[in-house]
Structure formats: C-alpha cells, structure tokens
Amino acid sequence: MAATPLLELKGVKVRYGVIEAVKGIDMKVNEGEVVTLIGGNGAGKTTTLRAISMIHAPAEGQVLFQGEDITGVPSHEVVGRGIVQVPEGRHIFPSMSVYENLEMGAFIRDKGDRKGLGEEVERVYELFPVLKERRKQAGGTLSGGEQQMLAIGRALMAKPKLLMLDEPSMGLAPQVVETVFDVIAQVNSEGIPVLLIEQNAQMALGAAKRGYVIETGEIVLEDRAEKLLGNDEVRKAYLGEE
C-alpha cells in the first residue's frame, strides 16, 4: 500500500467568473520530494497555487493535505497547517524592514517566543547573508534578487511542511537564480518538500524529482523529471529547441 501523499489535488477546477482557468487537474506531492509544475504564460500555474492556498478556492474538486480535505478552509488556516507559499512577484511588505518581514513570516507561530524567532532569523541570515546586512532596510528598497531571497526567507520562518514557490527565478540575474536554486536544494535536503512552479523548465526539472506540465488549465504530461528533460515535446515547447 502506497503511503498517503502529503498534498493531493483531485479534479481541481478553478474559475474566474465564467472563465475556467484550471480545468480539473490531479497532482500529488509526496513527503520529501521536489515536484515542479511547468508551463507557459497564462497556463494556470499561479491559479493552481492560489487554489491550494485557498486564496481563490477551487470551484470543484478537492485539495487534500496529509490526507485531510482542506478545500474551502480559510487561507490563514491553510498556512496554519503548514502549507506556505512564496508568491509570484514576491509580495514583500514594502514599508516593513527586512527583519519585520521575517517576523511576519513567523506570524502563525509568533506567540511571544522571541527567542525561538531569533534562532530562525539567524538561520535565514545564514542562508542569505545579504539579508543580515540589510535587516533594518525597508523591504521595498531591496533589489529584485534580494526581495526574492527575503520572500523565501520569510516563508521559511513559518517552518513549512510544504514549501510552494511561484516562479522564483522570474526576472533575476543568472547568479541570483543559482543562489535561489541552491537554497531550494538545501531546504529540501533538510526534509522540506517543495512544489516549484517555473517557466524556466531547465532549472526546474534539474532541481525536481518529478514534474507536471500544464497547458491552458490542463495537465498534459507528468513524469520523472529526467524523463521530462528528455521528452521531445517538452524540449520543443519549454527548452527552446527545434
């Protein structure tokens, strides 16, 4: 008997008014895995993540986490259960300092245990030393790369049971992309499962164990990552090969 997946989507449909942006998808993330969801612009990747976080709940279908149906629970409870998202476009709190942004990341656990919080902050500073230098600076004044690091650091402050990242490499210099992917690998090696959304299929499939390909709201392929990397259609559509 297979173990229960950590996260499971069953026939999830998401609508914006009459438009169906996600048309009934099935997906799984198991304990310990890095899973990637790749697809072009407008394919429905962000919509899928927002549905899992219940920011925009599915119209039909189910989202199961640790075997429990979480469809339609308030978004703050989803976070409380350990599903933490690094949103597309980073969404740093612009007028809060770097440190306060990190504090906000720990909001669900922050019940006055300042010492525990301090240890977590130090860990984030170890992963991203530049954040320590910038700790008193307002989030809005950071560069794009620094903001992405802060967004990831902020998510880690919540001690996620599942970390979801929405296009963390978007608009970043190649060096920064590398740093970000190194941290993703390190976080995963410490046992945190990751659901990674990317348009950068090469990097994403390189980092992941399994992958799904989404096109206009439907999963069109799913396989082990290295198989997808070798797949002709994937190479054509997402890796820019003829």
């Binding site: 949103p87 709190f93 919540a158």
Partner: protein
Amino acid sequence: MDCNTGAFPNLFVTGLILGMLYALIALGYTMVYGVLKLINFAHDAIFMIGAASIFYLFGVWFGLNEPTGGVVLVSLIAVGFLVSGLASGGSAVLLERLAYRPLRRRGAARLSFLIAAVGASFFITYLFQQDFLLGTSEHNFPGFMATESALTIIGAQVNNRRVLAVLTAVALFLILDFFVNKTRSGRSIRAVAQDIDAARLMGVNVDRVVALTFFVGGFFGGIAGFLYGMVFSKVAWNLGFFPGIKAFTAAVLGGIGNVRGALLGGVTLGLVENLSTLCIGAEWKNPIAFSVLVLVLIFRPTGILGEGLSAR
C-alpha cells in the same frame, strides 16, 4: 484688513486643542482606509455615540451633574474613557459586520462601499435624533467635572477640561504608535494595509484584522467624542457632523492611511482655521479650512506625509 493680534494666544491654544481632537477622530478614518481603502463616512456617527454613551451613563442613569473631585473624578474619567471607547469601538465593529463585510464577501465595487458608508452615517445619526434616543434638542454634558482655569500658556487661560483633552490625545497617540509598530496585532494591521494577499499567505486572518482596525479606530473616536462633549459642554444627535468632516479633512491633509499624518493634519487644520480668524471674521473659518485642503491636494495629492499605514 486689520488684525486682532491680541487674540493670538487664545486662538493658537484653541487651535492646538481642537486640532488634537480632530487628529484623534482622524485616526478612525485613516486606519480603516489603510486596511480597506474605504472612507468610513459613518465614523462621525461612531464619534457621536461615544459622547452619547457618557450622556446616558453619567447624565441620565447616575445623574452625575454636580462637580466631583479627587479620586471620584479620576475614576469617573477613567470609566468614561472605557465606556465611550467600548461603545464606539463596539458600534464600529457591528457596523463593519453588518454593512461592509457582506459587501466584501461579494467583492463589491468601491462605490458600493462608499454609498453604504454614507447611508450608515445617516442611519445612525438620524436614529439618535429620534425621541427615544437623544431627540432633536441639544443636551448639557454631565457636569461631573467643574470647568476651572488650570494653567496659562503664552498668556492664554486654558481650562482643566481642555488640558485633559490634550493630555489624553497625546497619550493615546503614543499608545497607538507603540501598538501599531511594536506589537504582533499592530504588525498584522500594517501587513494587511501593505499587501492583503501577502498578509493572508503569512496566516493573517484578514477578517479579524479588519474588525480589530474598526475597533481601534472606533475606540479612539469614542474617547474623542467624550472629550469633545466635555470641552464644548454639549451632546446632540448631530455632534459628529462638523468634527467628522474636519477630521476627515485632517486625515486627507496629513496623508490618509498614515497615523502620523492624522496627527499632523489635525493640528495643522485646527491651527489654520482658528488663526485665520485673527484677521477675518469667524464665519470664514470653514471656507478657509477647506481651501487649505484643496491647496494641499493640488500640490501634494497624497497629503503632507503621503499615503500608507505603513509609514513609520
């Protein structure tokens, strides 16, 4: 144009005191705007409820119309703060629950909120105008605190009620500043104000934060109502009308959504409208106050300090 420079000290002090009260009321507008981008036009009625609650409790029920002193007076003032704050804060939360939350659930357009707000303001105000509540006549504020000259500033006599009003307003601003910037709840309010989706993703219960914001704004507005009623020795169904619109002006003037802007805008407005009567008739007070608003907005559309509950 002949100016009555001799009146300067009095007008200056009056402007300062009134400005502090405007600022206290302005907090309600500015904090709600910060999190919901909604101008809660019903805040003037929420303010009036604070004064009305004291009229009922101290005036009607306990008949505390004779001056008291010492511990009794201090206790009455403390109870007054609590009661007026809770009455207005509670009303504001109820208002949000009944009028705004259903609209938010439906993702209503901004205009719907605005119409709901104006409607709620009229509803509460005219409810209190009914005979079973305050009625159409003006009432005296319960006289449990005698009016006596307390101190002299730059040659102007300031009575004890006004001193109380200013000290309270300053203390409340310090408390609010600490609350918003240094506590977990305050941080969650700033988070929602800066990025509502990101706040949700951090596990913030946005409905709770919105309710908290209405409560805090209402609480301070209620205490302002209590102080305003006491300073002007009156309570009436339309008590909120002018202070409300002035406080809203102050909030926009300072930069709506910005707590320190409320303070700056309130004091600026109080001083400008009072000092303007040095040289021209008092009947020009209101036109001048609003001209200042228009001028500031032409040159700085986001107010003196700019928008954002965020700003520290």
